[in-house]
Symmetry: C2
Subunit: 194 residues, 2 copies
């Protein structure tokens, strides 16, 4: 029996990166669950920011931003950045986090986040009270401790990314492996040999 819940933007699950805008001297960070992939050609992300966000203003100054994936151990710091306005204060420092220069963009990265993506804004689309910012990812880096044995791919178990759950408003961690993608489904395809 299905029950109607009305219009909603809630999907499950959502990531919960810290997005940083600005420069080495003046920067701001925000926890952004509303982010996803926009295209692979070139690799780009789409994120929805409320028009009034201070971080959006900072992003616009340099047309760059960074997306920093926090581990669950940083949940308190991420939440602090989500519930605190950065106007006139350095909330990254207040949260006990530190910034470092990006390699290709003006916006700095957050050192304590093990995986970082450097983005250059390519589009802004106004959608109601939000702006959908499309950013091309021009560089990414990760701590060696969260890479797999190939040294080129993220070991998501080691990354232990923070997950945001809308509605119940809780953070979760990632659970066990269910199975291999682009492979499990072959069991339903008699035409494909494994």
């Amino acid at each position: 029996m299905k029950r109607k819940l009305g219009p909603t933007e809630r999907i499950y699950p959502m990531p919960c990166p810290l997005v940083v805008g600005g420069t080495a001297e003046e920067y701001g960070a925000l926890a952004v669950a509303w982010v996803g992939v926009a295209t692979a050609t070139p690799p780009s992300l789409a994120m929805a920011l409320r028009r009034t966000r201070h971080t959006l203003e900072l992003i616009r100054r340099t047309s760059t931003f960074t997306v920093n994936i926090p581990a669950t151990a940083l949940a308190t710091q991420v939440d602090f950045c989500g519930i605190t306005s950065g106007k006139g204060r350095d909330k990254i420092a207040e949260a006990g986090l530190t910034t470092a220069p990006s390699s290709l963009v003006e916006a700095p990265i957050i050192v304590e986040c093990a995986y970082n993506l450097e983005c250059r804004v390519t589009h802004e689309i106004e959608l109601g009270e939000y702006v959908l910012v499309i950013g091309e990812v021009i560089e990414s880096h990760a701590e060696e401790s969260v890479l797999d044995e190939s040294g080129t791919k993220i070991d998501v178990g080691a990354l232990d990314p923070l997950i945001y759950i809308a509605g119940s408003r809780e953070y979760r961690s990632l659970g066990p492996v269910v199975g291999p993608a682009f492979s499990m489904g072959k069991a339903l395809r008699p035409d494909v040999e494994d």
Copy 2:
């Protein structure tokens, strides 16, 4: 020590809904990890689809689609829909899944997915080989078995949503609660009383 990984669209984690386009008579479904929130005014999702996707063609016929959140128990079926082209075949039926009419849009929902969002396309943005489809969510519904005691919100533990991990190409389940959002961070704000 950070290691450079180059341009990439990989973020962690990603959802893995089945997106359905078309009509009651002719429909198609696709596993889409590249989906996120576009705006809350009105509630809308943004998803990236390769231009050549058959499901995109079906979505364009009615300018509607549904987003169906599968449980981890449906991983094999979802993966099958991800690795199989729907051109000239009913892969939803082949996967052992069934469709039912939506309440407000032409595209049907997938019955076995406990949480469904009905969307109307409001924008299409061409980004390289992909189209970023923005869809307003005009209705949603869920099985009572995945609602919390209020009967109005998703119990994400009961929903047990399938998660997609890029790079290592694996499906994962959701892990334990880390803490309450919009609350944990108050520990770092001496100005806010809990």
